[in-house]
Each structure stands twice: as structure tokens, then as C-alpha cells.
């Protein structure tokens, strides 16, 4: 085709610094699959975390496992939220409430109906899916910000509702469930065992989600987020997809909540306020709303940074200072890493990979 004159400056990003070469054998960029590199890194990360999970108490205490469990369960919820923030281009201010719904579903099933906890957790997932689909219905008419603010409603209404429905939820007392113990014979403490469980769930969920987003669905979401008219012109049923994504996102958040409940063991209405929803959003942005590694980083941020000023404080003002520090940290991250801290990790990883590959090459050359 002669009309296809290659323009001077636009080049594939990787080749930008080199001179233009109009190659005739045009190779497509590698398919965005789980490439070897990613697999290698994921595996390494998994091994490290697994080792951590098996660490003796002198290395990682039960309290630290408890904190890590908070991080992992938050990370799951943020991962779910990312579907909306990073891909569907909408905002949910209600994911804290969905998290709470997941927690309560598990709590009620375990405490009042003697359901084994794994089943209860699955039930939470299903409840989240259903509630999410209902919540997503307004998405049929609304987009972006308006949808986000409608979800504000569930965030604001859940705590008083939980208080009101005391026959179901135990009212302000909330629900307490027994400790989840490791299967007999395994030398794990309860928080340690939960950490293992949570890690596995996190890995599976994130794997499923990233598969989903990598292909057809991810493109459709991106299209819908950038222009609904354009998406529709490509046969994308934007409404249905938005509802579906909302449901999946909510289900994942509820799953996180269910596991969170197993960690804290008591859920009360005040645990799932509007502020939780806001924290989840902050976590997503800090980590990078289009990254699942970001979800983990963001979760760690919102769990640890607000408690960072030594945890134990004396002078009355320290609590306020802590908030100031938290706010400042949030702002700094956003200013310097507008695409989230995950970008930082990616850079570091790329640099490492590049260095190791150059090393390998130079070794080859030497031999």
C-alpha cells in the first residue's frame, strides 16, 4: 500500500531514542500475555510471601500477621475497586459498605447458622455479586461521577441499617465469630494460617481479574470509559458491561470483607463507615488504579501510614499530627507518582530485569 507513508516521529515507544527504521517485516508487539518475565517476578514474590507466611513467631509475631491480614484483605477489596476506577472509568464511594456486607454475611452465617467459614466466605462473594449488580443498575443511566455519588448512599446508609436490623446483625454489638484455626496437624497460629489463606485468595482473584482485563473485556471497558458513543459503535453493550463489572468488583470487595472479618472476628456497624470507602479509594490511587501490585501497595499505605507515628503517642496533639502526616504522605505520593506507587515498582523491576539481561548478554559474549 503506497498510501502508508510512515511518519517521521511516531515510533513504537521502545524505539524512540534510536533513528527511524521502517522495517518491512513488521512484527507485532508481543501479546500482552503473562510473559516469562512477569511469571518470574510473580513467582519470586509468591515465594517470599510464602516464606514469610511460614516464619516462626520470633520473626513475625501474631500481631504482625494480624496487620498483614488487614493489608491483604484491603488489597483484595482495592483490587476489586480498581476494576471501576482504573478500567470502567467510574467511581464507587460505596466499596467500604460492600466490604462490610461481605464481612457481615460471613459473620452472620458463621455465628448464627454454624456454616463453615469457607462456605460463608463464598456466600459473601455471591451476596456481593448480587448487591453489586443492583448497585450497578443505575449505571445503565448514569456515568462517571454521578454513579459514584449514588454509591455514596450505600456507604452512608449501611451503618445505620446495620444498627437498625439488630435481629439479623446483632445491632450495635455486631457479630463475633470464633477464631479460625489451622487444620489439625499444621503448625500454624490462627493469624498465620489466615495469612496463608488470604494470600492464596489474593493470588487467585488477581490472576482471574487480570486475565479478564487483558483481553476483550479490558478493551471494551477502556473504550466505554473513553467514549460511550464510540464504544457503542463497536457493538459494545456499555450498560451491560458496566453492570457486570460493577457486580464483579463488588463481589471481590465483599470477598475481601469476609476475609477481613475472619481476621478481626468482630464486625460492628461502625467498622464500615463512609471513611472506609474513602480509604479504599485513596489506597487505589496511591497504589495505582490500573495495577494489582498497586492494590497491595495501596492497602499497605492506608493500613500503616495513618498509624505510623509510633502507634503509641502521648501528647494530645499527636493524633492530629498523625492525620497531617497521613494527608501529606497522600499528597506527596499523588504529586510525584500520579499513576501510583506501582509505577515505581515497575520501573525498578524493569531496571533490574534490564540489568540482569545485559549481564547475561555480556556473559554470553565473554564465553
Amino acid at each position: 500500500m503506497s498510501g502508508a507513508r510512515t511518519p517521521a516521529v511516531v515510533r513504537p515507544p521502545a524505539e524512540r531514542d534510536s533513528e527511524i527504521t521502517v522495517s518491512t517485516s513488521h512484527a507485532l508487539p508481543p501479546a500482552p500475555r503473562v510473559g516469562l518475565r512477569t511469571a518470574w517476578w510473580t513467582a519470586a514474590l509468591a515465594v517470599v510471601l510464602l516464606l514469610a507466611a511460614l516464619a516462626p513467631a520470633s520473626v513475625i509475631s501474631d500481631f504482625q500477621f494480624f496487620q498483614l491480614n488487614r493489608v491483604v484483605t484491603f488489597a483484595i477489596a482495592i483490587g476489586g475497586l480498581n476494576l471501576l476506577l482504573g478500567w470502567a472509568g467510574t467511581i464507587s464511594a460505596g466499596h467500604g459498605a460492600l466490604f462490610g456486607i461481605g464481612a457481615y454475611t460471613t459473620a452472620i452465617l458463621v455465628a448464627d447458622h454454624g456454616v463453615p467459614w469457607p462456605l460463608a466466605v463464598l456466600a459473601s462473594l455471591v451476596v456481593g455479586l448480587v448487591v453489586g449488580a443492583l448497585l450497578g443498575l443505575p449505571a445503565l443511566r448514569l456515568g462517571g461521577m454521578n454513579l459514584g455519588l449514588i454509591t455514596l448512599a450505600i456507604a452512608l446508609l449501611l451503618p445505620p441499617l446495620l444498627t437498625r436490623l439488630d435481629w439479623l446483625t446483632g445491632g450495635p454489638f455486631g457479630k463475633t465469630t470464633p477464631r479460625v484455626e489451622a487444620p489439625p496437624g499444621l503448625p500454624f497460629s490462627s493469624p498465620q494460617w489466615l495469612f496463608l489463606v488470604n494470600l492464596v485468595v489474593l493470588a487467585v482473584v488477581f490472576w482471574l481479574l487480570s486475565n479478564m482485563l487483558r483481553g476483550r473485556m479490558g478493551r471494551a471497558l477502556d473504550a466505554a470509559a473513553s467514549s460511550r458513543v464510540m464504544a457503542a459503535a463497536h457493538a459494545i453493550p456499555t450498560n451491560r458491561i458496566t453492570v457486570a463489572v460493577f457486580a464483579v468488583s463488588a463481589a471481590v470487595a465483599a470477598l475481601g470483607g469476609a476475609l477481613f472479618h475472619l481476621t478481626t472476628r468482630t464486625s460492628t456497624p461502625d467498622s464500615f463507615t463512609f471513611l472506609l470507602s474513602i480509604s479504599l479509594i485513596a489506597g487505589a490511587v496511591v497504589g495505582g488504579s490500573r495495577s494489582f501490585v498497586g492494590a497491595i501497595i495501596g492497602a499497605a499505605f492506608v493500613v500503616f501510614v495513618p498509624e505510623s507515628l509510633g502507634g503509641f503517642v502521648d501528647p494530645a496533639a499527636a493524633g492530629q499530627w498523625q492525620q497531617v502526616v497521613y494527608a501529606a504522605a497522600l499528597l506527596l505520593v499523588i504529586y510525584f507518582f500520579p499513576r501510583g506507587l506501582a509505577g515505581l515498582v515497575r520501573q525498578a523491576r524493569n531496571r533490574l530485569v534490564r540489568r540482569s539481561s545485559t549481564n547475561a548478554r555480556s556473559q554470553e559474549e565473554q564465553s
Binding site: 500500500m1 503506497s2 498510501g3 502508508a4 507513508r5 510512515t6 511518519p7 516521529v9 511516531v10 515510533r11 513504537p12 515507544p13 521502545a14 521502517v22 522495517s23 513488521h26 507485532l28 508487539p29 501479546a31 482471574l208 481479574l209 486475565n211 479478564m212 487483558r214 483481553g215 476483550r216 473485556m217 478493551r219 471494551a220 477502556d222 473504550a223 473513553s226 467514549s227 458513543v229 464510540m230 464504544a231 457503542a232 459503535a233 463497536h234 457493538a235 459494545i236 453493550p237 456499555t238 457486570a244 464483579v248
Partner: protein, 274 residues
């Protein structure tokens, strides 16, 4: 001479009795706060080849496209290969095989050219959410097929070296080609092209014209073209419909349209002589 729609369609039936028009528009009207942007427009788009819609600015060309693709709801009836599009949503129409490009190219800015083009294959793939989640064989095969087809379309448009470039970095002219490649990947029955040659240099516009005719032949898709580049239109169009103030002025063979006094007055001006 007004071309009564019935006459026009009868004429065609004589030409190719077995060929039904791919698109037939009957008495299409739409009003925006008192402004009749389309006013009882009726004409047929014959199957295959390139048909063009021309007319002055604000004549209603883009509005016509928007009605066909379902973004606007006008009165009147539109049939795609005999099937009424009445009440069908834009995405349903797209799924029936109507692809389009936009007057202002609309891409997913943050994605690569390849991903943008692959988007066009949405209606051609079927694997669902769950299937993608667990990476079933089917979902993977569909993705690979789609990549290959997208590569072909990009090659056709000369975009292959840019497959990994970010859409936002492309100059204006190339964005149009990405749109066109995207439309082709959908393997559509009908492609609506809204000023595809705007911002492309004249030389390229003519090369582009050949590309379009070639495309129409090879893919079997019918192209409906809105374009201000008269040279291009005259070169490629089998038939031309002329709109002015929302009304269909003339519809017919390029040679006829070119000489029509009303078209000369309303639109072509001295351009006609070139």
C-alpha cells in the same frame, strides 16, 4: 430535477434485480430545538462499492450517520438489508454489521494502536467474562485470531510499524487510519466513513481513494462516505446523495450529480471545474 426516492430505487432494481440495497432510508427526519437537521430524507444505498453523501456544512450528513448508527433517534425508517433498525440500540446495530468512523477521530488515547484496532473485533468474538478469567482455550484462540486479523488491517493502512505506539501520540492524519483499520476488523456489512480524508494531504487522499475502492471490492463491505474532498468523491463513488438544509437534493450517478445546477450553486461552486 428532484430524484424521487421511489424512482431511484426502481432504477436500481432494474440494474440488479437480485441485489437488494444494503441500506434503505425512508422519510427520515430529526429536529433539534426547532432546527430540522434532517427533513424527510429517503434514499437507498446499493450493496457493494462506495456511495457518497455530500453537502454544505450543517447539511445533516453527520446527523444522518448518527441516525443510522442509532446515536440519534429520528422519525422514519431505516432498514439494513431488509431488516428494520427501529428501536435497536447503537451497539445492537453495530453488532448487525454497521461500523463507522467519527468526524473527530475517537480513539482510546492511552492504549496502543494495536489495542485500538483490536477493539473493532468486539462483535466478532464471543468468549464471555468467565471464559476470559480462566483463560479457556476458546478465549485464547479468539484473541490470537483477532490479533492476526488486526495485523492485516493495520498492514493495509500502513500502521503495522506503529502497532505499539500510544494512540495519543499520533498526528491527526494517522488517527483516521487507526479508525479505519478498527472499522475493518469488525468485518462489517456497511461502513460509515465521516470525512476520512480530512487532514490528509491531497496526494494521499487520492491514494486513499484507491484504497477505499479496493477495500470495498475485497471485503465485500459497502462504504458510505461523507467527504468534502470532491475529487475523492468523484473518483470513488458509485452513487452520490446530496444533502442541503436537511433535505435530499439529488441522488444519482456522479456524472449526473456533478452537472446538477443546484449542486453547483449550493455546494460545489467553482470546485466542480477542477
Amino acid at each position: 430535477m428532484t430524484a424521487p426516492p421511489s424512482a431511484a430505487s426502481t432504477g436500481r432494481t432494474d440494474d440488479s434485480a437480485q441485489q437488494r440495497p444494503v441500506l434503505s432510508i425512508r422519510d427520515l427526519s430529526i429536529t433539534f430545538s426547532g432546527l430540522r437537521a434532517l427533513d424527510g430524507v429517503s434514499f437507498d444505498v446499493p450493496t457493494g462499492g462506495v456511495t457518497a453523501v455530500i453537502g454544505p456544512n450543517g447539511a445533516g450528513k453527520t446527523t444522518l450517520f448518527n441516525c443510522i448508527s442509532g446515536i440519534y433517534r429520528g422519525e422514519g425508517d431505516i432498514e439494513l438489508a431488509g431488516e428494520s433498525l427501529e428501536g435497536k440500540s447503537p451497539h445492537a446495530r453495530a453488532a448487525l454489521g454497521i461500523a463507522r468512523t467519527f468526524q473527530t477521530p475517537t480513539l482510546i488515547e492511552d492504549d496502543t494502536v494495536l489495542a485500538n484496532v483490536m477493539l473493532g473485533g468486539f462483535s466478532q468474538t464471543r468468549a464471555g467474562l468467565l471464559s476470559h478469567m480462566v483463560l479457556t482455550l476458546r478465549s485464547r484462540r479468539e484473541e490470537t485470531d483477532l490479533r492476526e486479523r488486526s495485523a492485516e488491517a493495520m498492514d493495509l493502512m500502513g500502521l503495522l510499524p506503529l502497532a505499539a505506539a500510544r494512540a495519543a501520540d499520533l498526528p491527526h492524519g494517522l488517527r483516521r487510519r487507526v479508525e479505519l483499520a478498527r472499522a475493518l476488523v469488525a468485518q462489517p456489512r456497511l461502513v460509515l466513513l465521516d470525512e476520512p480524508a480530512a487532514g490528509i494531504s491531497h496526494t494521499e487522499a487520492l491514494e486513499f481513494a484507491d484504497l477505499l475502492t479496493g477495500l470495498a471490492e475485497r471485503s465485500g463491505a459497502t462504504l458510505l462516505l461523507v467527504e468534502h474532498s470532491v475529487a475523492l468523491v468523484m473518483r470513488v463513488a458509485r452513487r452520490i446523495a446530496v444533502l442541503d438544509f436537511g433535505k435530499l437534493v439529488v441522488e444519482g450517478e456522479p456524472s449526473l450529480v456533478r452537472q446538477d445546477p443546484r449542486v453547483l450553486a449550493a455546494y460545489l461552486g467553482d470546485e466542480a471545474e477542477s
